[in-house]
């Protein structure tokens, strides 16, 4: 009842009318403000903005490479991940020096600067907690450039690098200087190694990649620094060779025939760097100075062939006489050549020069324009029982061996970046026909670089070292007689 009373009271009250009137006044006022705003609104027009003073981009004191991080943020992560597995410990970078772990986190394949794919979850995890590209070093090795976190430099220290035509020890001093710059410029978190080779012998600075700490840099430069400074002790020092292959390879080349740069690349590939730099002077383990050809020899077959060849020449009277005549002439010239070398080195010693480095004793004969007799060819090659082509590996066999050695180690990661530098000699005459036949070192390395999508550069050594003496046969024979008389 009370409720009904109240309702009646409200309906009849004049306060309701007052409220309605007040609301109407408020509504009119609000409408008036809106109308006034609309009336005052200006039509659309272009406005000329006054140029604001441009702020200069602030340079970071520590350069930071943000690109890989951006990529990481913008790209959705693939669901599939590779894994570290128990049988593949080589996938994990285990630093050899303890302080490395404290100093910088583990490097990673992430970053897009190589053709590597993501390797495993651990590396990806680590990459989030480390400075981006912390371990990437920019390397310029005789004009071949690359950026990577894992770098291997392979250097030929054989006598081929020290020949007169290539500038001798002075040219090798350029190598020392470049190594100092390249290794000195590496970031401490870069993992690196240096491999030296001298024909069959290969020496690694360390068994595995190591971070480029100041101590490691000093050690490696000290290790390389003493090599080929004194040409009386040219090549890899005795006992320095320390490389044995980690695995066997199913390749056309026999294991003992893998030598020189190929063995160096094998040692490097087993450590799986992202980038390999190679400096060498020759392609194969056999190089002919007068023809300029260079190839890998099948040593077992070569020995077999030589035996069969000698047997052939000794089996026939005429062939035997021809062979004996050739040998006696060769032996005479050998005595002359060795005396020539002795006299030349004596003259160089007096002129305070380094001794002459040669591949073989006959080279000084060519330089003094003395023609060597050509070896007699077998009249009936069938009777020899072997063909000389069997004694050397064809280019496709070497390429196959190279490909297998690299891909057996890298597999799904694809090819690493390869950079070849060839020490160029002066005055090596090669006919166009031989170049066309792809028998020379430079032609072979050029082609290999193209195939492997790598880079190729020539390193111009110092000027050719001219002989101190211009010798002729008669004078040397006289000198030989004189020494024989003195001895008598």
């Amino acid at each position: 009842m009370e409720v009904q009373k109240t309702k009646k009271r409200i309906a009849n009250s004049s306060a309701a009318l007052l409220s309605i009137a007040l609301h109407a006044v408020l509504l009119l006022a609000a409408g008036g403000v809106a109308a006034l705003k609309y009336y005052n609104k200006q039509g659309a027009a272009f406005q000329v903005e006054e140029p604001k003073p441009k702020m200069e981009r602030r340079k970071l004191q520590m350069p930071v490479k943000a690109q890989p991080f951006i990529e990481q943020m913008s790209k959705p992560k693939a669901q599939t991940t590779s894994r570290i597995t128990a049988n593949a410990p080589q996938m994990v970078n285990i630093p050899e020096q303890g302080e490395y772990v404290k100093m910088a986190p583990m490097p990673t394949f992430k970053g897009g600067y190589t053709n590597f794919v993501q390797m495993d979850r651990t590396l990806e995890f680590n990459s989030k907690y480390r400075d981006v590209s912390f371990g990437v070093s920019s390397v310029d090795f005789f004009g071949t450039r690359g950026k990577a976190e894992k770098v291997v430099i392979i250097v030929d220290v054989s006598s081929s690098m020290l020949l007169d035509e290539r500038g001798g020890a002075d040219s090798f001093a350029i190598v020392h200087e470049d190594l100092r710059q390249v290794i000195g410029g590496m970031r401490p978190a870069t993992l690196f190694n240096v491999i030296l080779f001298d024909d069959d012998e290969t020496a690694l600075f360390t068994p595995n990649l190591v971070p480029a700490t100041p101590m490691a840099k000093t050690n490696v430069l000290q290790w390389v620094g003493g090599i080929n400074t004194n040409l009386d002790l040219a090549g890899l020092p005795e006992g320095a060779a320390n490389y044995t292959p980690r695995r066997t390879y199913d390749i056309p080349m026999a294991e003992p025939d893998i030598s020189g740069w190929l063995k160096g690349v094998q040692a490097a590939a087993e450590q799986q760097p992202e980038i390999i730099f190679l400096l060498t002077a020759e392609w194969g383990n056999v190089t002919s100075q007068n023809y300029g050809i260079s190839y890998f020899q099948n040593r077992r077959k070569f020995r077999e062939y030589q035996q069969k060849r000698i047997d052939y020449f000794l089996s026939d009277e005429d062939a035997r006489a021809e062979w004996d005549g050739y040998l006696s002439e060769y032996n005479e010239l050998r005595t002359v050549a060795i005396k020539m070398l002795e006299l030349e080195n004596q003259a160089r010693y007096e002129a305070e020069m380094q001794p002459k480095v040669v591949r073989d004793w006959d080279e000084i004969l060519y330089e003094n324009e003395i023609e060597l007799p050509a070896a007699p060819l077998a009249a009936d090659q069938q009777a020899v029982g072997m063909v000389p082509a069997e004694t050397r590996y064809t280019l496709d066999e070497v390429l196959e061996s190279f490909f297998v050695i690299v891909m057996d180690n890298y597999r799904q990661q694809g090819f690493p970046q390869l950079n070849f530098v060839l020490l160029q000699g002066q005055g090596t005459a090669k006919t166009s026909a031989q170049k066309a036949a792809m028998m020379t070192s430079d032609a072979k390395f050029r082609n290999l670089s193209k195939m492997a999508n790598g880079r190729f550069r020539f390193l111009k050594g110092r000027s050719r070292i001219s002989n101190q003496l211009s010798q002729n046969m008669e004078d040397v024979i006289d000198a030989l007689y004189e020494s024989a008389e003195e001895e008598f």
Partner: protein, 314 residues
């Protein structure tokens, strides 16, 4: 048809795995109070941690003795691993690297002679300037990506993954010597069957995780020498003459055109098996192959003559 056969084989293998898991034989379980129960496990729920038995229904895992708890978890691992739906192996062929080199060269003959007292051999070179040969070599590294996928709701541990990639490669029967003989078949090749084995261990695959492994690389060579072109004709033709049919013949060498050759290779496929330790200590294996026809001929792979008949027909 092949797929159906492979599926049947996989089912059979899964069946054998299940047999090894002990689900066919009832087992006596002991609880924490020493009471026993003889029954067959049908399911283990890793979320609720309950074991479902064939006759006894659901029992919490915690109710069992520590040894039986280990057994149940191990049974569950094998059960999950053996499931074709929840544990998958996928194979995908991929090309990892390739190199190509081609050139036109002047054919040559090099004799190398080792003179006593000399370090390097002396050479005699004869070039056939009138001729040209085209040399090309393709090198390709192929392999298989092996994706192991765990769709179970629990991790699977210590999985051994073994793979064998099969390929065949031709080699020349004779060395590359121009002056070998005109009597030999210069283009003859010898076919060699090869396989490369790889074994890896995955410590753990968490639920819904994919793990990508790779087989070894099969390295294939395709080499060709084309000697059908004569570039010039020198005036000095003492060493060569034209036969009645118009082909060029070089003395000691035979018909020039007969000295082209080619050797090739190809990947045949991959066989993969994944295994975990069974309840009896023996490894329980899951197998797969690509193409699936390789699976049937597994026994013969260990020996020579591994080329499947249907692959030959291709």
């Amino acid at each position: 048809m092949k797929k159906a056969a492979a599926l049947l084989l996989c089912c059979a293998l899964a069946g054998s795995a299940a047999a090894q898991s002990g689900s066919t034989e009832p087992r006596t379980f002991t609880n924490t109070e020493g009471k026993t129960l003889t029954d067959r496990i049908t399911k283990y729920d890793s979320e609720t941690q309950e074991v479902t038995f064939e006759n006894s229904g659901k029992i919490p895992l915690a109710a069992f003795s520590p040894a039986d708890q280990d057994f149940i978890l191990h049974w569950n691992q094998i059960n999950g691993f053996s499931s074709l739906m929840k544990f998958k192996i996928e194979l995908k062929k991929s090309s990892w690297a390739r190199m190509k080199h081609e050139q036109n060269v002047t054919p040559y003959y090099i004799d190398a002679v080792q003179i006593p007292g000399k370090k390097t051999p002396s050479h005699s070179i004869i070039e056939l300037d009138d001729y040209q040969e085209y040399n090309v070599v393709y090198l390709e590294a192929e392999g298989y990506e092996i994706t192991i996928r765990n769709l179970n709701f629990f991790p699977i541990e210590n999985i051994t993954v073994e793979s064998k990639i099969f390929y065949e490669q031709e080699h020349y029967a004779l060395p590359d010597s121009l002056f070998l003989t005109s009597e030999n078949e210069y283009f003859d090749t010898v076919l060699t069957n090869k396989f490369r084995f790889r074994s890896e261990t995955i410590p753990i695959i968490i639920p819904r995780e994919d793990v990508l492994l790779n087989s070894e690389a099969a390295l294939i060579v395709d080499h060709q020498v084309d000697r059908t072109r004569k570039v010039t004709s020198s005036n000095n033709s003492d060493d060569e003459y034209e036969t009645e049919d118009g082909s060029e013949t070089v003395e000691g060498f035979g018909d020039w055109e007969d000295h082209s050759r080619r050797r090739r290779g190809r990947v045949l496929g991959v066989w993969v098996r994944a295994g975990i330790k069974g309840l009896d200590g023996e490894t329980v294996w899951r197998e797969d192959a690509s193409p699936s026809s390789l699976m049937d001929q597994w026994d013969s792979f260990e020996t020579a003559g591994l080329v499947p008949e249907d692959s030959k027909a291709e």
